[in-house]
Symmetry: C2
Subunit: 200 residues, 2 copies
């Protein structure tokens, strides 16, 4: 009977091997900002830009995560915390695989972002504050959520009835009222590409 069936830690394929295969470095790019600030739009635009350069990415956003992994979570404080915790863990799995994860969630408090940073690891975490002002986000209101929040139909809505704590130490700040999507994407690309490109 073969005796060599037990896991051998020495034989695990480590992250650098996968990064070498992909010719890129894993990273989690963490977009934070108000609802309708442009987080998902910028994440998807950045994904396309990186793809055109041959880099593999994975966007984690509300549509993808709230309908799948986190479909059993609501919007209580505990559930929001658990929502971000799971997303951070998934981001870590992707970056461990050499993939660039692009996370686009409000993640409104210092504490919640500190947790994400701690799970993902400082060296793997690139925080982008999408600083579009509340008045503009409320004007956009693509899903009518701000309207419902003002009417009290939605409770604890970030920016209206729940706080948004602006990051103090974001790696990059982007106000989408100042740029076209293309300009903002280029700005982000320039900031992150050094962390993604494999060393020569």
């Amino acid at each position: 009977m073969p005796t060599n069936i037990f896991p051998d830690r020495d034989k695990f394929l480590e992250r650098p091997a996968k990064e070498a295969l992909l010719k890129q470095k894993g990273l989690v790019i963490w977009f934070t900002g108000l609802s309708a600030s442009g987080k998902s739009t910028l994440a998807f635009a950045l994904e396309r830009k990186l793809y055109s350069e041959g880099f593999l990415t994975q966007v984690l956003d509300g549509d993808k995560i709230r309908n799948g992994l986190n479909n059993n979570l609501g919007f209580t404080a505990d559930d929001r915390n658990e929502n971000i915790r799971r997303i951070a863990e998934v981001g870590r799995l992707f970056s461990d695989c050499g993939v660039v994860a692009l996370s686009a969630f409000i993640s409104p408090t210092q504490a919640i972002r500190r947790m994400a940073r701690s799970i993902i690891g400082e060296a793997n975490f690139f925080e982008i504050f999408v600083s579009t002002p509340l008045s503009i986000c409320e004007e956009r209101d693509p899903k009518g959520l701000y309207k419902k929040a003002r009417q009290g139909v939605i409770q604890n809505f970030t920016g209206i009835s729940a706080p948004y704590e602006a990051p103090q130490n974001a790696s990059l700040v982007v106000d989408t009222t100042q740029y076209t999507v293309e300009e903002a994407t280029q700005k982000i690309y320039t900031a992150v590409i050094k962390k993604i490109r494999a060393s020569e």
Copy 2:
């Protein structure tokens, strides 16, 4: 002010684009079997084999998931269900990204595997039953878990005090008492490679 900041679904980068970049197709290879049957060992051996051929994979196993994403779950029936549900959702995210996910969890019941298959999607789900007999798994007992289960120190232990329902429709069955790790890995490789290799 730019007006084109809202998400445009038409601009999302779809799975085929990522598969083209990776020159492979995404898949979830789902190993099921008793504790110490050899699931993780085979998953890691398959990962190395696939890597040597230039394919990108991600192993999801207990060490990685129970210490991270699912570190807030225990071993009640509900928690085991939620454990597998989250793993299936994460497997789906990886296969959506064109990556081959290798999941190695006991996943003891037909119902729990049916859930995983349904989340991941029939076409993306390749089930491997690691059918090593209980007597051999118990003999191996690398972590002393069977001993503790026999003593009643661990409750609801699959194969001892909780049922393991053998799959009826696994894509492949591997009994590790019949093969070396290398042989078993080759057997699995031959069975899965057609689903992973990009069409010519």
